[in-house]
């Protein structure tokens, strides 16, 4: 759009008059919209930038057409008339959008609504120097001359789609009333105006009659940003049950996923019509590239809007959430002027240069030159350097070619220099994809975590185009995961979790239990039966028992909640906690209790966990647990096996705390770190759980009578003599030849555990 005030014709791209009608006028394309086609009239199509009506002003000041006024330069407003707000474009079912476009392109501005609404036929075109005539359809009129029309309020979706069906198909693969590119809301009968009603908000100074429609927050474009988020969000509708919207529980979805991902991320997993992959303006025309079929390039869609399944790219939108987007990669040209600003070149300026080198380039398709080699780029930039000379809108000529995140220009020696894109042309945010919502059963996650966390899923491993034509002329791609901050090694780690850890953990645990059963039935428990022996010595003090109890209970809670997370077990989740958030909080609290109890256990048991020379014998004899016969093994207050278990679980506890505490703040962590910590946490949780099962076996049925330590802390002399012979000799035997028969009160002093 040209400025109002211009110093030279070179500055003028499209005047307001041209803006209304720009576009091809051949019979095939005349029905496609010009810029004005998707402008319903009124505003800038009726009044100039001074607030005066174009047609009347040009009639009274015809010299304006010869000035450099951006509203009037070479215009014919006096003959075309103006485009008043066309109410019927939106409110009349059966309105002919193609006819409107035709009338506008042929400069029949004030006749466009009459013709497109079908009220009358219009013959003659201003563009061809004619004075159009009207023949009204008399069948629409009553005898008194009043017209009778079927008007729709609010507007039917079909009419909204005149414009949005074209522009949003290109931007984001949008279509409506399209069974193949379906939308669950559309399938439920919702119309555009159900979600985008007229805003009536005195705080914003907007009345319903102002025709301001509720909107979200477009990621790339600026469209009345002051009205952003006036639409009801997915969450609002589905929590309130607006228009019968079901309330989702999302029990199988991790809470942090709900915090980090937009609803659209999971609920728009695939689009079914080709959006634009990008566009190239090298020929001076906007040449659109529909989505590439990367797996089968020969079967790529030929046009935007063609049926084609594609997965969106993911990007962070204005509210910080990850959402499906379509970047629409641009191949653009600018000129770096002396003020340091990269000015986009006008289509005519690019076309002039391209025409000059077209025959030298000899592209296989002249309409798609796809410049990608240094030689081709040099040729085009050199041509631009020449054709831009003398262009009065620039103070210096330094043309640039922008493609695939790179900027190409010629150095002093006339050679091509490539740099990473650093200008406004770099926009990589992508247009939000927020329609064509899939039914819940087709959403990502409906079939489990593998919907995203597997090598088959597009979310991490899918390839997205970042350059329409790379150095070899083919599209350059990158994995979707890398774009959202997941590096390949993190993905490999995550794959280990998904492919090996999760499926085989149950088998490993079952095998362990089976091995213990084999041990019990083969080796059997330590033969001495202490159930009937009098427990007279307090082996575990109350503090020790409580610390052990807290550690045990918190561990069980951690294991149970961890199991739910590990397998996303919704049944247990619903049964036990009601919501994922509650389960997570319980896991956190249990983790903190476990960490504190672990620290206390260190204080209590480190003195007894130091290795002693006699531990070698215990280890050599494998603690008497293997071999099929009873052997005497020396042990202090802790035997060598217990010491190993103690230090092993101490290290495991430290790992769990170090990896677990940061995960409480998972939403603030980088994706790579979060993934790494989760995998380590999950892996060692399994190791920990297996260790504790073995520990429980040895502390109960494998060593009868031991369990009493956890109840009253007391054991018999015989038990101590059997299991902790060294300690027995050092602390009991030397005192009056043993403590057998002493009361617990008497034995307290001898118990080095509590003293």
């Amino acid at each position: 759009m040209a400025k109002k005030h211009n110093k030279t014709p070179d500055e003028i791209d499209l005047t307001t008059f041209e803006w209304v009608s720009v576009g091809p006028t051949d019979p095939k394309q005349i029905g496609q919209p010009s810029c004005g086609g998707c402008h319903p009239g009124g505003g800038g199509l009726e009044f100039d930038r001074d607030g005066k009506r174009y047609d009347k002003r040009l009639k009274s000041e015809p010299e304006l057409a010869n000035t450099l006024d951006g509203d009037y330069y070479k215009s014919k407003w006096d003959k075309s008339g103006v485009v008043e707000a066309d109410c019927l474009l939106c409110h009349l079912p059966g309105y002919s959008f193609q006819e409107r476009n035709k009338q506008l392109k042929m400069w029949n501005y004030k006749w466009a609504s009459t013709a497109a609404s079908g009220i009358g036929q219009v013959k003659g075109f201003v563009r061809e120097g004619q004075s159009p005539t009207v023949t009204y359809n008399k069948r629409l009129f009553n005898e008194d001359g009043q017209i009778v029309l079927s008007i729709t309020y609010p507007p039917p979706s079909e009419n909204c789609n005149f414009c949005h069906g074209i522009s949003d198909a290109k931007k984001r693969g949008f279509s409506w009333n399209d069974r193949r590119n379906h939308d669950v809301h559309n399938a439920r009968g919702l119309q555009c105006a159900d979600c985008h009603p007229a805003i009536d908000d005195p705080k914003k100074g907007v009345k319903k009659i102002n025709h301001q429609f509720a909107k979200g927050n477009e990621n790339v474009s600026t469209v009345r940003d002051d009205l952003d988020n006036t639409i009801m969000t997915c969450r609002e509708c589905h929590q309130k049950g607006y228009m019968g919207a079901p309330r989702p529980l999302h029990l199988s979805v991790r809470p942090n996923h709900l915090e980090k991902l937009s609803c659209e991320f999971c609920h728009i997993p695939v689009l079914h019509i080709a959006a634009g992959e990008g566009f190239d303006v090298t020929t001076g025309q906007m040449v659109n590239y529909p989505k590439f079929n990367l797996k089968d390039p020969a079967n790529s869609p030929k046009t935007i809007g063609e049926y084609f399944d594609w997965h969106p790219r993911y990007g962070r939108i204005k509210n910080g959430l990850l959402a499906p987007v379509n970047p629409l990669l641009g191949v653009l040209y600018t000129n770096l002027d002396s003020d340091g600003i990269y000015y986009p070149l006008f289509a005519r300026e690019i076309k002039k240069a391209y025409e000059k080198i077209k025959d030298v380039l000899k592209p296989s398709d002249p309409n798609r030159p796809e410049l990608h080699t240094p030689e081709q780029i040099k040729l085009m930039l050199s041509a631009l350097s020449e054709t831009l000379k003398g262009n009065a809108r620039f103070h210096q000529v330094k043309p640039n070619y922008h493609k695939g995140g790179k900027i190409y220009y010629l150095n002093e020696g006339g050679e091509v220099v490539v740099e990473e894109e650093h200008t406004w042309a770099a926009h990589a945010e992508g247009f939000n994809i927020n329609h064509n919502v899939a039914p819940a059963g087709l959403a990502l996650g409906a079939k489990g975590c593998a919907d995203c966390h597997s090598s088959e899923s597009h979310v991490f491993k899918g390839q997205v185009v970042v350059d329409l034509f790379g150095p070899d002329g083919k599209p350059v791609t990158i994995s979707s995961g890398r774009l959202i901050g997941c590096s390949p090694w993190v993905f490999a780690l995550n794959q280990f979790h998904q492919l090996y850890l999760t499926p085989y953990v149950s088998i490993v645990i079952l095998l362990l239990v089976f091995a213990l059963v084999l041990h019990y039935t083969g080796q059997g428990p330590k033969v001495a039966d202490f159930y009937d022996a009098p427990a007279t010595i307090e082996w575990f003090s109350l503090t020790e028992r409580w610390v052990h109890l807290f550690r045990l209970i918190s561990f069980l809670i951690l294991a149970f909640t961890g199991y739910i997370f590990f397998y996303n077990n919704v049944t247990f989740l619903k049964m036990s906690f009601g919501s994922p958030k509650t389960a997570v909080v319980v896991h956190w609290v249990a983790g903190i209790v476990f960490a504190v109890a672990s620290v206390m256990s260190l204080k209590l048991w480190v003195p007894y966990a130091r290795f002693a020379p006699y531990d070698k014998e215990w280890l050599a004899k494998k603690g008497g647990y293997i071999g099929g016969k009873e052997v005497e093994v020396p042990a202090g207050r802790m035997n060598a096996g217990q010491k190993i278990f103690f230090w092993f679980t101490t290290v495991l506890s430290a790992i769990m705390v170090v990896t677990g505490v940061p995960l409480i703040f998972k939403s603030s962590l980088p994706l790579s770190l979060s993934c790494l910590l989760s995998t380590i946490h999950g892996f060692f949780a399994v190791v920990f759980f297996a260790s504790v099962i073995a520990h429980a076996y040895l502390g109960t049925i494998a060593n009868p009578g031991t369990w009493r330590i956890l109840v009253d802390g007391k054991v018999s002399n015989a038990w101590i003599k059997k299991h902790h012979s060294v300690w027995y000799k050092e602390h009991i035997e030397k005192d009056e030849g043993g403590t057998e028969g002493k009361s617990s009160e008497e034995s307290k002093d001898n118990s080095s555990i509590s003293s």
């Binding site: 009239g41 009726e46 008339g81 008043e84 707000a85 009459t114 009129f141 001359g145 039917p156």
Partner: protein, 103 residues
Amino acid sequence: MVKLRYLFAMKLFWLLVAMATGLYAKTWIHTPFFLKAEDGQIINPLTGENADQPYSSRQTCGACHNYDEIVKGYHFQQGWDRIKDNFDPKKPWVLSDGMMGKF
């Protein structure tokens, strides 16, 4: 009593017919109105009065609806109500934040 039941049954029948045929959608026949030309004159194709003129929505729709309030909407302005030559000094070619002037 019988008459009431009959009336209720008829009402229900026509309601169902209306729903089935889509008449219960939001389309309705607008009250008949005169088309008006740019100068506000009535267009009457049956009498030939101004019948060579295209209709003007400002004059026709605006006769009952507040045309000037309606066109304040973004769809009609598309940035025109904010357009100015120095809208964005960093991108001097951008004259507004709407489709009219953004490029």
